[in-house]
Homo-oligomer: 449 residues x 2
């Protein structure tokens, strides 16, 4: 199989380049038609690979793609999930090459979506293609259920799965949308943090005011917002929202020793990112802070005049975006209510505050001892000559919890990304070695279960 992959790798990369050239940014409405074009491109690729019953299913947002091949009688059914939508590309000026004109450099392919998730998703399309060409059939039954709204928290896929339980029923769910620990060290993620995201707007007046005539005498929306935002964390790095830590598992020796197993090089991370220091909750390591602890991060802020030069105004409006990562039994809806109360309690004088919930996802936990996860580990080991670790991932894939709950099937998070591949940031890329070895690993896994 390895030889076949190498033989076709140039063609595979050309196809991936085409896929990556479509700016399928799901969060920006002006890209709606590009997101659809991306869905159609992928549906066509699945057809060419030999999948059947292909559907591009319209939703109130972006389409879901379904496809299956169900002729492996008596064999288990694997549902493959991935997403063809990508994050926005800005700030554009920090990209070394345009985000939607893929470039291959130093054995990596650079483009928005390269590692998250088009490159990883396309591994599965090519694995099916090769197996089909080699054997004329697949060793197991396969379903694809692919969405275009992962980056906006999957508002339509959850309901679709609940309403189409039989259609998507499977013995295992296979997802490649996570990362290795580092180059050469594969990982099967066993925990994903939940998420809660919201917008917060502060308004003090119906217009910006001249700072000479009104400054010092009327409330300033940016002052109000910054005061409010600064109230979310204590000096010890803890989140100060009341009851925020309710449902967070006690950091037992076992949890801590698991987290400590994740290799992490403080010095090289500091250098690569030009950090002056790390940061976070007192008494926890970096791996614990980003793996087993919940967080509240301000993702962006804006208000008043921020262009070239100066406008001497008292801003009348300012806004921020905030997201939380949740663990254990933390409930996003409950946390949202607690944040509402916090904002109400701490809002400065003269400020009208509006909150708007954007995303919720429950945390999810997977058992590394499950035979199917162990089989996935065997496949990784055969290809990479290293047994994967089973880390707890700091990120969130909201739909995993839904798959796990609704289908009652084990979810295998067989990620081929690297944590250094700038996902959600400028110069996102994907290592070609993990693209080709990924195809080999997936073929091995489907052959062996």
């Amino acid at each position: 199989m390895k030889e076949k992959i190498n033989l076709h790798s140039e063609q595979f990369l050309n196809e991936l380049t085409e896929f990556l050239s479509i700016p399928s940014i799901s969060s920006l409405s002006e890209y709606k038609s590009e997101v659809k074009r991306s869905a159609e491109w992928l549906a066509h690729a699945l057809e060419k690979a030999g999948m059947e019953n292909i559907e591009v299913i319209e939703t109130t947002g972006h389409p879901i793609i379904y496809a299956d091949w169900l002729h492996a009688e008596g064999k288990p059914t694997v549902l493959i999930y991935g997403h063809y939508d990508v994050q926005p590309a800005d700030p554009l000026e920090l990209w070394d090459s345009p985000p939607f004109e893929p470039v291959i450099k130093d054995e990596k392919i650079y483009a928005r979506g390269a590692t998250d998730d088009k490159g990883q998703l396309y591994i599965h399309v090519k694995a099916i293609d090769l197996l089909m060409k080699e054997r004329g059939s697949l060793p197991v039954n396969v379903k694809f259920c692919i969405e275009g709204e992962e980056e906006v928290a999957s508002p339509n896929l959850g309901p679709f799965i609940s309403e189409n339980k039989e259609k998507v029923a499977a013995d295992a769910v296979l997802i490649s949308d996570t990362s290795f620990i580092e180059k050469g060290q594969p990982a099967i993620c066993t925990s994903l943090r939940g998420a809660l995201a919201l917008e917060l707007e502060v308004e003090t007046a119906n217009t910006d005011l001249h700072s000479g005539s009104y400054g010092g005498g009327v409330p300033n929306a940016v002052h109000g917002l910054t005061e409010l935002l600064a109230s979310f964390h204590g000096d010890d790095g803890q989140v100060t929202v009341e009851q925020f830590y309710e449902g967070v598992p006690e950091p037992t020796e076992e949890l801590r020793s698991e987290a400590a197993k994740i290799p992490f090089n403080e010095k090289s991370t500091k250098e690569a990112l030009d950090l002056e220091s790390f940061y976070g909750e007192k008494g926890f390591s970096f791996q614990e802070r980003t793996g087993i602890r919940p967080t509240l991060e301000i993702n962006g802020v804006s208000g008043g005049f921020a262009g070239e030069g100066l406008k001497t105004i008292v801003p009348g409006k300012a806004q921020a975006k905030i997201s939380c990562r949740l663990v254990g039994d933390q409930d996003p809806d409950y946390i949202y209510k607690q944040i509402e109360q916090h904002v109400d309690k701490y809002k400065p004088q003269g400020c009208r505050v509006r909150l708007n919930q954007l995303i919720t996802a429950k945390p999810v936990s997977l058992d590394s001892r499950h035979p199917i996860l162990q089989k996935a580990a065997d496949s990784f080991e055969r290809v990479y000559k290293v047994r994967p670790l089973f880390p707890k991932e700091g990120g969130s894939i909201p739909i995993v919890e839904v798959f796990s709950r609704v289908l009652s099937a084990p979810v295998v998070l067989m990620g081929f990304g690297l944590p250094t591949e700038n996902l959600h940031a400028p110069n996102e890329h994907f290592h070609i070695e993990n693209f080709t070895k990924g195809i080999e690993t997936v073929c091995d896994f489907l052959n062996e279960i």
Copy 2:
């Protein structure tokens, strides 16, 4: 004179409309050629009005316009100052009509620069024009010294005045760039606050990072910035920068009773601006806070992702613009150093902070008992039938301090704006009544001194 003005008012307004149509935004480099076009338009208008020795003097920024008429032997010389540059127009979506397509509605002319300062400046051009047409000469010697950089704090006019003391020497300086107390109540401003403006940038990493992988474990530039910005004010509304209040005059009974004379309607201001409450230093009234007290205001803030939707990032960079209004003997350079120290002391862990000074201007004070200010008051009274008040203005016109110091001449701040005319904000406008009565007042003043 009144009849003549009314006879020509339509033509005058057509000319002003032309002047206002040129987007002479001095702070944005892409408008440089428009700023120049505005200067040339005005130079031509001065020539048509009968002024002589007209020069459009290039600087490292935008041109200074000089013109004179010096044939009134034995009579005093009046130097008229104004500015032909304007503030940026954003946020554009809040304008009811395009900012550079002037519209006349309800006896007001709407456009960026209508009241600040093109409309007020053009009053003087038309006053000279009419006097010249009526008498064939002027009652006094007149010089014009007009700049295109007032909205960026006059970096070139100060040095120009110092280097051309004789050229611009005068017995009085006449400026219309301030406001009435309210409709029907003229004012001659006797005090302008000083100014200090700066940019503050916080950097924590060389890129934005995925909040799932890094959130809670690395410093967040927006957290750092908001914490820092929130540290500038105490709960009592006071500025917490050390020694900030050094040089601020004691709020004596006299100062307070002067401030109290300025009519201010709390209820109607609150309603018009949709304020929930006023704000400011404990123990001071609105008029005191905006007139005799110094302030520190955040004019704008930005960082991370603030567009449509969500990007779950830990921002690596964030920035703010800050400006102070200064009074009495406060020194902008000293305050800047104190702010540097404050930032150094309060900067959160892991934050690299950069400061950049944008503007400095010293506070200025004028004596209302000076005969020339009293003559200006007489002219106002003859036209408006109300004697003007002599308020302390909260804003800053940096060049006034320079005129006052270098030329040792009294400065007459004969403003024709209204405080409700949205200067520096969307839907800026100018009352046509004050445009025509302004011409009458200026003619009267030049005739009487």
